[in-house]
Symmetry: D3
Subunit: 287 residues, 6 copies
């Protein structure tokens, strides 16, 4: 009698030390990849975040939106062009991007969190002047309205957070001339984490973490030191799409964020596993 229930109670009790540890801590989560597109994973991530909030943590979400933007462009008869993995963004593309990020994906996440009992509030970088940006100068190509963060004004996040809301941020920035920019969500997450003096930055990705042998999924590095990054890039261990994520983590750590994590968003409840188990999952980067 009650056997099964009692074993559930024990799981709650096992979580107690983690709840104590993370009480009041700010965790910035870059939400993207499969966790954002897989209909089974989506509500699970939302549950994880609402639970984090309810046990006293302060989660802040930053989301990306790649595939949806492409879809919307195609519906409007525009063909996306990419240079070095970055979308060339003319004014019309920027307008579509903003509508999709702020008017569709951001609202969808807000609705999902609220559906799980949270009280989320969507923000773009324009709200409360949250993100000031400038045109990204990267190589020869003119990428148009692709931007990079120049300043974070975290007042609106702090205001909302103080009152139990979960901020959900679309990676849109604005410069002083009034131009709107699309910014890499990993970079926004890192900048927000620094501005909030966050305890953790977690990037949800579609890989297990950083592998010492990219070909061997069993070679996951559970910890990585910042000072080893240069060498690992040189040796071709950290490659391609992983490089900007590692660089974002490095920036966050240098900016005072306690720890950063690159974790596999394809695992159910990846966030809870990262927070509420000893070994964690994915790769933790530290100074």
């Amino acid at each position: 009698m009650h056997e099964q229930e009692i074993s559930k109670a024990k799981v709650l009790i096992e979580a107690l030390p983690y709840i104590k540890t993370f009480r009041g801590k700010t965790v910035v989560i870059k939400y993207g990849g499969a966790a954002m597109t897989d209909p089974k994973l989506k509500p699970q991530v939302m549950q994880d975040i609402v639970l984090m909030k309810y046990v006293g943590m302060k989660p802040v979400l930053v989301h990306g939106g790649g595939p949806e933007i492409t879809k919307a462009m195609q519906a409007l008869g525009k063909q996306p062009v990419f240079v070095d993995g970055r979308r060339v963004t003319d004014l019309e593309t920027m307008q579509i991007t903003e509508m999709v990020l702020v008017g569709k994906l951001n609202q969808e996440i807000v609705a999902l969190l609220n559906g799980q009992g949270g009280e989320a509030v969507g923000l773009s970088g324009k709200d409360g002047n949250l993100i000031t940006a400038r045109k990204l100068m990267a190589g020869a190509a003119d990428l148009g309205f692709v931007g990079e963060v120049t300043a974070i004004k975290p007042d609106v996040i702090n205001t909302l957070d103080r009152d139990q809301f979960i901020p959900v941020i679309a990676p849109i920035g604005r410069d002083d001339e009034g131009n709107t920019y699309n910014i890499n969500a990993d970079d926004v997450a890192a900048a927000v984490a620094i501005a909030l003096n966050a305890d953790k930055l977690v990037l949800l990705t579609d890989v297990p973490g950083i592998l010492s042998n990219p070909q061997d999924p069993g070679s996951l590095l559970s910890t990585l030191r910042v000072r080893d990054i240069a060498d690992m890039v040189a040796r071709g261990v950290i490659t391609g799409g992983m490089q900007p994520k590692v660089r974002a983590c490095e920036r966050a750590l240098n900016g005072g964020v306690g720890k950063t994590h690159i974790i596999d968003g394809r695992i159910p409840h990846a966030l809870l596993l990262e927070i509420f188990t000893d070994q964690g999952i994915g790769t933790e980067m530290v100074v």
Copy 2:
């Protein structure tokens, strides 16, 4: 010497009694019509609102978005259908509507206010569960995702307002099953004004106000009593598009809002004129 400057100082001094009167007062503004589309009027409205904020008032904006939604639909190859002035809104139309309202127009207003020195924060009815809605049952036709307000949860507005932000609200609501609805912005403004126990509700329109003779622009009624509405509708004085606005005002007044105003948004600085002059402009409705 200084003649011109001194006369400016006198204007400021003339505003003093109004500043005193409206200090700390909540004013909900339905923003729409020419004031939202005319490139000369737009920044003026924003200046007015930022000034209201700076002299101690608490402005809250609710905006509509009709023409932009139609444009976006057409760009995507969809033909809008209207029944009794209401857009038939299938799921795809709803998604377009949300993207345009939340991802384009709302952000544009936020950016304009911030450009004038305000600190605006855009909100849809999903943010902080601000607007709960249900399907509007109006006559025989199924209008799809056209909704009406069932509840306002003003916590997120109050939180932001306490910290000097200007809330800007897109008229989107959500029901408990997770459906999204497009709602008439006048109705949202009235419901928000009631929930905030606002002192004033101001509807910016493209007419001078309510005319005792609809054919004669000189027949503007400066004041209208709620008890006279039924008769004026019967006599054909209040017609067509003006009826729902008058009804929204009536609901707001019955819900405890101090005063409501239907003013001509085509006049430069119409809001300031309404607030900072004795005679005001447009038609004031009172109980």
Copy 3:
């Protein structure tokens, strides 16, 4: 891989609705019986209470102490005398009782809670004038310093609770002449629950709850209405030691406490099961 961890995460997620429901709620717990003497159960109860605190609830403990008092008396060469289940309490017995309750058991519970990561503070009814009492007049026998509650001054509990401490109360009261009284812990718990306007009163006992057939452990009543008590006492369903507990619950409910529960403290993590499962355990009494 991660299978076991993921299933743990799911248990946490299952608890989410309960965490939401009980956030900020005050729960007064009468701690006694096996849960207080069994060395395996003791730490589990403490974990449950600390977890309740960490997920935002406000637990308040009231404990009894019967067997330890008897032991201490015997060590000092005094023979306990009981009349109708109540200990005849002369001045020396009262002094021993106070030392055991306040100086031993209360401190033991405080230490156990702190050992689990809580911040408990022990209180007797004298601290901050928490419990005013008077001599209990019950039948012919003079029971000496056995008392009943005349007033609760909850200031010290509220002060401590506001700052994250868990109050642990020994059932000692004082009258205006300075006499100290030993009071039934169930009664103290009920009085404290009323004074705090608690949402729940939970009595930990050594029985499964109230049985419709006292001989049949399978006849547990999961719910009991106050209006049915008199009849059940008359029919001999509620007997002996259960009667005062049921009466304490009745008083609490009449005094405005939301719900009361008589649960089986011998079940591991009985408190968590009661709070975090749908069916709960034991018998719930409602108005």
Copy 4:
């Protein structure tokens, strides 16, 4: 239609950047000269100060009182004696001075401010031990109860200011033996500005400001650097009654006050012109 009103609205909008800039800023105003005696100017200065308060600034007034004191002395049959522009102040003169400053002029200003919608509170240096003073030792002559500031205890100003009152200060101080002193109002204003860490000190005078050629009213210096003062005094540019004013400004700037202004109180709304126009009026002194 509305033409005139709209142009007024534009003036308000022009003031917006200044309102933003000075929000929450403390401005100490030395009130004296024509602005204090001319019946047309008096209400204008009061309007300016009330407006400053209403748009979020924190004005603090310090007033002088020369001519009124002389008048009162003469009414009582006493002949004023001046040495180097300072009134020889025996005990009786001091009592008359205090009555006129605190009981007449200060109350008159308070009443005028309140008449314009402010909530002013009159203070002498004795109230809340605001001003501690000592006998001024200046040259050979014994000036009696002419004093200089030794300490400002700004608690009472801060208390009142926090609650929307406008403090109005009479330049009376007290030493530890209980003697009362009359103090130069410019010096009190400078000392108060330092103690409040004010953003601005404004001296209302009866001259246009500092002239590079004292004979030519057109030679007004709009800005003066502290380091140039010594030379200008040496060259006879800053002379006579202007010297102590310039010295007071210098002390304020050295004490941490942001900016100081010597402006022409004879110009209508001189304070608003100084605050709400780009070029300002009079002479601004900076470090």
Copy 5:
């Protein structure tokens, strides 16, 4: 050894119950008569008030000023005229009165309190719009600027009191046309006591209290009930100058003030005796 000191300690201990009783209580004191003119009594009253403040009470002073006003008038060659004990107050007399009350007597009291370690702040009825008054219509004679209270706006007292200042009030009021009035200080004290919801109103007088036989100082009534006043006036027991004082007390009691006291200010430390001894002194009036 220490004998004398120990007996002093015992006196402090005897005061403890009174300190407890009056902690946080507001006591409005009308200060006048010998206590205000006798150089030996003056510092004692101030000590009493500062002590009251330091042991947690909230004393508020209202003072009169009769003899000083007459003296000042005579110095200026004006002859006072009295009708029924009230000074006929033309404009010049009013100006002299205000200067003497606000600029001399009020400041003297402030300085005395501060000299004893208090932090007093002088207020007239103009400060913070504390006292609104109107012309007193009393009989046939036109008394000029003799006024009566129409409203008390206690904000400035509450603001100062919250921060440990002792408010000292001169009985000057102002009407909406800007006229200044001299008001009876007993009446101001009663009105302030009502507005502050004071626990006590104490009138310091030059008589022992109310005598049942006006000829016999030994016939002091220690308590008087409001319902007995009319009869005592009729019987000639309460006569002349005592009548307005008794009426002021009656009004205060009807306005919600807890108790009122008419005490003999000629007794050293009369206030402490009234507050800190069982029998009190003078006559206590109750409802």
Copy 6:
């Protein structure tokens, strides 16, 4: 008439400067010796402490308990063993000690303070993790559960103190393994005084203070400098039981406590004499 009362009022007035000086000051009092056992002295000490609280000071008590522990041990048939004045404390002795200190003496003091109108709350070092301790290593002998302070966590004291409660502390500590220790009360008082950044530490003893000639009670040193201690110990002036008290004071002074006092608790109202007279009593130690 009133002569005696007036002389009492004068005593209150004499206390005024001391009340002013000690307002808001934290005073930690080690309560022990005759003041804790003499039935006449006990209520006097309590009165003194309650008075201190009522005039705005923040008293914190730490008590010892020697004789009572011995009595309880003997009642249970155990014979106390002392080594160098310290009780050898096996587990059973520790349990008895805790019961006596926390369950008897502490509660007795709380009740006495409350009886005098205070609101005391008893605390052991376990409450709120107030005192962390470790086994005292002192010489060759194993003293068992005799401990020394390793850390004070003053949160619970600060929480209670903020709300007008008087904390009363039993000198019991706990280590991380869950062992309970009996700690010297002078040492606990010094450690608590340091942790609270107290203004004063007062040790109530059964001697007049420190004597320059231990044989001559008239040789009391009213002041002692820390730098002179070593020499006085060497010369045999500070001997035996006084040495640990002097060392505790020295530690407190080095830890930032303003002043420490060793006073004669046998003198009635010794605490008030120390606080409220110029010369004080006993020996004051300063840096």
